[in-house]
């Protein structure tokens, strides 16, 4: 592995590498990924959003060989599409032609949660502060990604905005920081809160509405080898105008939420039951409603600093 990051390459060099047979290989947390795409908009987003990621040489081992390109055929001339490939095979139906970069990101997520059963993987954002990981399991539309974005600019380290990887041997959380995905109104909320944030292109009319990714903080990428122990399990929900409120949640019910948000719990059998039990053992568990992001961030900072809000148990 070289010590270079992608930012050492010009945008044209990134585009050229992505078009080449060897592709462009990057380290993303514990994984090495080779990307290929002839699409200029994908090259622009990769160059911008992966700027701080370690660049791998063509000789380095890679876990995934992924690509996004336009399928052949007449359709490319009147209604172009994009297709995701892993090892030359297309596991999904094509999407509209301007969704190349989101498709690449969704496909890379799928590679992790669908194939990497060395970890128990939750659909959850996860951030670290003072060595402890805040796990935010929630379905799409709950405000999880917005809260995650607010926290990572409010003193927390991003481990992942989508995938919580739990090591079955140590029981700790393995970081896999990547560009952070936001949808619809959340994009403007974060732009207003953090004007210096670097966004890629907005992509309209996806199945999730308007989608945009932003560049993860460089320190999160550099800290990708620093695991964290589970510290809190919090089920977030955005409710307009709602004051930020943490409500203690019974551990048994929090456990079931982790099961429901796990991608591969079934693969682990009894080991998965014991592993999630050990996570819940360590963590105070809460449900959380919020309507204003800055207030939510302040509340979590107090929680992490041991100043539990009234009525909540101390960590």
């Amino acid at each position: 592995m070289t010590s270079q990051t992608l930012s050492s390459l010009s945008s044209s060099a990134v585009a050229q590498r992505l078009r080449s047979r060897q592709g462009l290989s990057l380290r993303t947390g514990p994984f090495a990924t080779q990307m290929r795409s002839p699409l200029p908009e994908v090259a622009r987003s990769v160059h911008t959003l992966y700027a701080d990621f370690p660049l791998l040489s063509d000789q380095d081992f890679v876990d995934f060989r992924v690509g996004v390109h336009r399928p052949a055929g007449l359709r490319q001339f009147w209604q172009p599409q994009v297709v995701f490939e892993l090892d030359g095979k297309a596991p999904f139906n094509p999407l509209p032609g301007d969704q190349g970069f989101p498709l690449l990101e969704w496909g890379m997520n799928w590679c992790v949660y669908g194939l990497c059963h060395q970890y128990l993987t939750l659909h959850a954002a996860v951030l670290e502060r003072n060595g402890r990981a805040l796990i935010l399991p929630a379905p799409s539309g709950s405000g999880k990604s917005t809260l995650c974005a607010g926290l990572l600019f409010g003193g927390w380290r991003l481990l992942s905005d989508e995938l919580t990887l739990i090591c079955p041997h140590q029981g700790d959380i393995v970081p896999v920081p990547r560009p952070v995905s936001l949808k619809n109104q959340s994009i403007a909320v974060i732009e207003k809160l953090v004007p210096q944030v670097v966004f890629g292109s907005r992509v309209h009319e996806t199945t999730k509405g308007v989608v945009a990714h932003f560049q993860p903080p460089a320190e999160a990428v550099r800290g990708a080898d620093e695991r964290a122990l589970p510290g809190w399990v919090v089920l977030p929900k955005y409710v307009p105008e709602q004051p930020a409120t943490l409500t203690p949640l019974e551990k048994s019910r929090a456990f079931m939420h982790l099961v429901e948000n796990a991608f591969n719990y079934d693969v682990f059998g009894a080991e998965g039951f014991q592993l999630l039990g050990s996570v819940i053992d360590r963590c105070p568990c809460f449900s959380f409603e919020y309507g204003h992001l800055p207030e939510a961030v302040q509340l979590f900072n107090r929680l992490a600093d041991g100043q539990a809000p009234a009525g909540t148990p101390r960590a």
Binding site: S252, F255, F273
Partner: protein, 81 residues
């Protein structure tokens, strides 16, 4: 009695009980996980804690709870020790 957070009632039945109104149970034979009433978990823990000499009395106390788990489909059959 202190709450036992994790125990194995039988080779195929694992429990996490944090003393809440509910507990979670893993049925190895079916690979399924269920939320069960906390009182059932307490009965399972007492059964697991007991010496073999107490089996008869505890089995009798546990029987309705086990029957309820069987009837709701959480267990396919009564567990053995």
């Amino acid at each position: 009695m202190a709450v036992r957070t994790a125990y194995q009632v039988s080779p195929g039945l694992l429990v996490h009980d944090w003393g809440d109104s509910a507990a979670v149970v893993f049925v190895a034979g079916m690979g399924t996980t269920h939320l069960i009433d906390g009182s059932v978990a307490a009965a399972l823990a007492a059964w697991d804690d007991a010496s073999p000499d107490d089996d008869e009395a505890l089995d009798a106390a546990l029987a309705p709870h086990i029957d309820a788990l069987v009837q709701t489909g959480i267990l396919q059959e009564r567990p053995g020790r």
